[in-house]
Symmetry: D2
Subunit: 378 residues, 4 copies
């Protein structure tokens, strides 16, 4: 694989690299790690790469890799830059014939997401979006239980993602991760909702299969001088009548990555928390609660396949992330060998576009003082 972004000082790039390495099926062989050629070179050196395959830009990488013999060429490229570069980089790579893995949100503007969707469709290439929380085994199990109807008809979802890392104005003091995430030019129309709220939206969709119909949003910018919201709370209405409550925050003091999902149906409910991801709690009106844990034979096959080690040995964020990469590798291998073992379980460009529509709708509602706003059509 190759990589765009993720040079020295970056955060999510190394996560992608660890996730791709874990199962010994994917090897990083090339990269354009920074728009600063020297920094890219040094980053490649840190990673023991062949200097010839460390590039100064994604354009250069796309061109020169495409020119290599088929069996020495990159299979796919991971894009791990700030949001505003996702679209141009993805477009360039797709156009040069590479499969693409892209960090979320898929683009920083809705119109780019639409364009990219069209491009992906037209290219026929694989495009995977790393809404990585869907890779947790217990989230796979949650989806399967919902699909089997164990919860009955779905009536409500509560999803939350409080963080506290932007409580101070570190974005205005040069902390790089904070700076671009709160910069409309790089992040898009939303900070908090775009960065973590879309994980919530996607997670609900993954587990329940439901589509948002209407959004009522209230945004807050707590820290003076910050240009985008750092806290968002939303009421949701889904197409099937399910109600939803979503909140995301970057200014919840003392919170780390407390993503939690609760889904309520007419016959039962489920509860999952990212910080202790190896428990899925099922609650029933008339039976004892159940705690499901990974690696156990009572789980569905797909959830079981998401564990690498026996029950009781915790796997975490990197392993969940790696489950997406494993699915991407499987899809690419199948494509290369001319077989098709779909479904492959990774978020797609459609999920990416749904996320951007959600962001745009919520921004509109928040700007209209919380008016219930139908999901923006594209």
């Amino acid at each position: 694989m190759g990589m765009v972004g993720g040079g020295r000082g970056a955060f999510i790039g190394e996560v992608h690299r660890m996730a791709s390495r874990l199962d010994g099926q994917i090897e990083l062989v090339a990269g354009a790690f920074s728009s600063d050629a020297e920094k890219s070179r040094l980053s490649g050196q840190d990673l023991f790469l062949d200097p010839d395959r460390v590039y100064a830009s994604y354009e250069e990488m796309a061109e020169r890799e495409a020119a290599r013999p088929a069996d020495e060429r990159l299979d796919f490229v991971s894009i791990v830059t700030p949001n505003h570069l996702h679209y141009p980089a993805a477009r360039c790579l797709l156009e040069h014939g590479f499969h693409v893995v892209c960090d979320k949100p898929v683009t920083h503007r809705l119109k780019d997401a639409v364009a990219l969707r069209d491009l992906v469709r037209q290219s026929g290439q694989i495009f995977a979006l790393t809404h990585n929380y869907t890779g947790y085994p217990m989230i796979r199990e949650a989806r399967e239980r919902v699909q089997r109807g164990e919860l009955g008809e779905l009536v409500k979802v509560v999803v939350e993602y409080p963080q506290g890392w932007l409580l101070e104005d570190i974005d205005q003091q040069g902390q790089k991760q904070a700076a671009w995430r709160t910069d409309p030019q790089q992040a898009g129309a939303s900070s908090c909702l775009g960065d973590i709220g879309t994980h919530c939206e996607n997670l609900v969709h993954y587990v329940t299969g439901q589509q948002i119909a209407q959004v009522c949003a209230d945004f807050t910018t707590l820290v003076p001088g910050r240009r985008l919201e750092d806290d968002a709370q939303l009421l949701l209405r889904y197409e099937n009548g399910m109600k939803g409550l979503l909140y995301a925050s970057q200014v919840s003091a003392g919170e780390e990555n407390a993503l939690r999902l609760r889904v309520y149906g007419t016959q039962g409910s489920l509860d999952w928390q990212q910080e202790n991801p190896n428990e899925l709690i099922l609650k029933w009106p008339d039976r004892p609660r159940q705690i499901l844990k990974p690696g156990n034979p009572y789980l569905g096959a797909h959830a079981q396949a998401g564990s690498r080690i026996p029950a009781g040995h915790p796997e975490g964020y990197i392993e969940g992330f790696a489950n997406l990469y494993r699915e991407v590798a499987r899809a690419i291998r199948d494509r290369q060998s001319g077989t098709d073992n779909a479904p492959y379980d990774f978020p797609t460009i459609d999920d990416g576009l749904a996320g951007l529509r959600f962001i745009a709708t919520a921004v509109h509602s928040a700007q209209s003082d919380g008016k219930w706003t139908p999901l923006i059509e594209v």
Copy 2:
């Protein structure tokens, strides 16, 4: 003490009785336990009461008890009927000179709450409202920590109270507790929000001292044929700028009484859950989380006074409820002895009126498709 309501088949009446007995300072000596005279008589018999002091109506009780010599007369009366009877009973008892303890919400109509507020003020009698969750020691501690400024400026509150007991249409099949709570004539304009959402609203106010400024509400009636909402989710704006998220539900499958309060400030946050009430978690941006437990010397004096037994021996719902009764008993004793050791820590008629204003505002917002609605003035 005397009691109105709480006869055979009732629920909350016995809770009040247990709470009042626990500390050996209050004795139930009279009651009008049912509007059915025979049922009232039998209920009094169950309670080993003198038959002469078991009455067929609160009017009769008020009149005849008032006629007794001062030192053989009731000190106060607890009203534990369905909501619509709170106001007439309270009025009658106050007018006959009795102090009153009343279950929540204080009335079933806003205008009655206003009238009652005026009457209480005018009478000078003690009026306590049993928003019992404020009696938990760790909630007292939470308030003290907030008041001391440990959390910094308050920026957000998340309060939730999911239950699942009305998931089936038991209200339409004769379950008495369910029937009156979903009957507008008895419960008022709201079921779910009135019954448990007001606990949320009151708990936030108790702990933070803040007043709601605006409400954006979405109500759901899940069960066909039910006349009032059984699920409510709300966005809140407080007068100090604090944001809020409140949800209450009677149709969350598998939930029991999962009241939870989270308060976020600029310097820290707190987290408390009613089903395991003996832990208060404090979260800090830069220090390890703390778990506070009752009965420990590191707590404030008022929280410590809320425990009856040493640390590590759990106290629960009844003990928290009894803490309110203990405060009422203290207030009445002081009144009788002509002293004043205020503050006394029990919710008052003002809290009751605030609750009714909150309900009315939320109902209005929900009926206006979630329009942000300022708290209704009275």
Copy 3:
């Protein structure tokens, strides 16, 4: 009821009083609260008792109460003194025809326990021992599940009760509760094991029905100058072949009353913790774990009867204690009305004797450097 001990400054006496009051079936009407007549008098006054029924000694109480007309006489007496007074007080009261409730351990010497056992048998009076942890609803459920064979054959039990309150030498600095518990003249041959280790032993017996066959003990006295052990760890062998591991400590820093019981069988296991007593966790080799909570219809009838309020409203230590008193009241009422609705669920003199045999055996083993010691015969 009457009470021996529990005057001003005592701890467990007020617990017994709260427990006895809670359900409105028992009234405290007499007491010998202290061996100091004036202190007894003042304590009675605190409790609003008739001064004529507040006595200077249990002998006086026994005699004078026995002389009262049958329908004005005490039904039973609770003994809540330090250990060494249990036997003489119980003997005196039984001999005067009173039923007895007694705090644990039943006596401070094994021989007294044997004598008391004989006396109770001979008298035919009711004798209840307040190993109160057996009153928790989830412990009742645990027992029922074991009896039904859900766990299969029992193979192992792990029971622990760490406290930290004696980490400093408060017993040597005049803290009264600490002083008598570490004084061989008042507490008996053991402090830690006698005070809390017997709860462990009794709880295992209650839940599993098994008898200890052999004990291997290691005692520690951490605090210099203390005369009895403040930490005890034991390996156990039960008559059915079950192995056991028991530890109790008064010097485990930061622990409060962390009693925990785990029972392992060939088909499943259970896990319960006193500090969060409203959860019973069942673990299975091939199925998801279950969390059982009080007040739910899936519980056995006896566990259900142990709750006073609906599921999700926590009940704690006092309520569990009160469940014992409720059973005692039921037994006495039945006795008085000539009926028998056994079984009544409270620990008996046989449990008390078993506890003393356990203590004596453990002390012997500890003094023999951990030699496996058969349970001492009596």
Copy 4:
């Protein structure tokens, strides 16, 4: 790196491989994956290895790799076979000049551990033992807190490791992992204690620095026909006077890998559980409990260095394991570059020998009906 063992059907080999891959610093390039040459070949193929470097035996690998030019030669070899092969393989590899990583317990016989210790000392090669639980960041923090004296003098340790996977006689039905672990020829004198009890022993030593002085053991073989114990409970005495309680079980129904460590000192205590490894709880006599989580600035530098991703994103078993490999890689790099940045944080041959002494002592005590037995000298 190279590998001995870990072919198709093995368990721990793949764990070592994932751990070694995670940080991109170590590459598996050679292996003798099975004593069956064909199986070794196929395993190498699964791993995309050069067939020339996939060997039929560790002897062949040692010889042929040693014959390669220095810069194309293996740096170190991981031994992941059943216990009885650790010693001969390690000896052979050390003698050919390779550094060694070896799974635990270090050998299956005490005398081999002694011989290996001598050989390692003499060779000057790096030898790392994968007691992987010491790699968890919160265990590093625990050690640092103890070393800093925060808990005061240590008085007691409680360490437990219950599993349930051997509850049935799968070892007698051909389950390979179970079969060798219960075979004295392959596992050594102990199954349960050797496989998981040594983790407990090592973890206590890592965190507290204390040495066992005496052991009192009780072994159980629950499953008929099994040749080694499947449950062990021990009382321990440490050289500094600290008491200990250790239990390990393979037949605790419903348990997975519930390793837990509690350390009590005169001023505080700590509590850590492997199944939720990202919390370290500190308990204090006079202050609120604290929950420490990885990735936070309030942790020591070494604990912080053990996290790869920000606070709140869980890392687990593989990451902890990888922390050992990272330290091994660092040590080897330093060795190769002629520098020394000790200490390197991985268990050594001395830890391995301590483990074997512990096993032998416990076996002796268990065979002497629990006689307190001093740690066997070597």
